[in-house]
Symmetry: C2
Subunit: 117 residues, 2 copies
DNA sequence: CGGTATCCAAGTCGATACTG
DNA sequence: CAGTATCGACTTGGATACCG
């Protein structure tokens, strides 16, 4: 359905054909850690290591990959400081902000689901 | 993070550890076609073949797999008729109904995203 | 501090053919 | 009509080590 070429560093949405808007959105926020990353950033901008500390279990490689994906898809912005060593701040774009309430409701449903078991 | 056993027919949520409610929800609705399936069923109950007709490009095997997953996770119900040949009706559970507005907003965001490109 | 490079395992989907 | 069975391919995530 999506006969696309992806590279080593995740899939660039622009090269992926998504006839369906639901499929498109799910592809953008559907990475294993993207939901948590976005819900963290929806509270405030964060530096790389701060995000990492908040997500125990994620490796550097994977965190970087997911951040790159989100950046490519226009959901977050990346900003380096001039310090040495440099720090990198991540924060939501306007597009990303629009996702926040959706993530919230997803989280709420998940919580309800869990207490239902 | 989720050290689980999955079988040939998809993953049973009950055996998967999801510390995070977002991750849990994404895992339940994150299959490639689950969003579309759920948004179809949110309009009305449908027979297997009707669903299949509405989703060109999905194979029987994959449709069945995704339906099984959704059933296992308590999102949809499966009901056979007594006809010959039998027909199978699928419809949302209460839990599934609660997902409908979320899917709607996901679809809306996806549409806004697409016109933004 | 914030990454890359390699290599590997698991998950997920698809094509195709066949069945009660 | 509504599935199963087999097999193969691609995608995604993870372990580990190293770098400017």
């Amino acid at each position: 359905m999506s006969g696309f070429k992806s590279d080593q560093y995740g899939t660039c949405t622009l090269t992926v054909k998504h006839a369906c808007p639901i499929e498109l959105t799910m592809h953008i926020i559907g990475g294993k850690w993207k939901g948590i990353i976005l819900s963290l950033l929806s509270q405030s901008p964060m530096y790389y290591n701060a995000i990492r500390r908040e997500i125990p279990g994620i490796t550097q490689r994977i965190l970087t990959l997911q951040l790159r994906d989100l950046e490519k898809d226009g959901i977050i912005k990346r900003e380096e400081t001039n310090d040495t060593p440099k720090k990198v701040l991540y924060y939501l774009t306007a597009l990303g902000e629009d996702l926040a309430p959706i993530l919230k409701s997803i989280e709420k449903w998940g919580n309800a689901y869990m207490s239902n078991q």
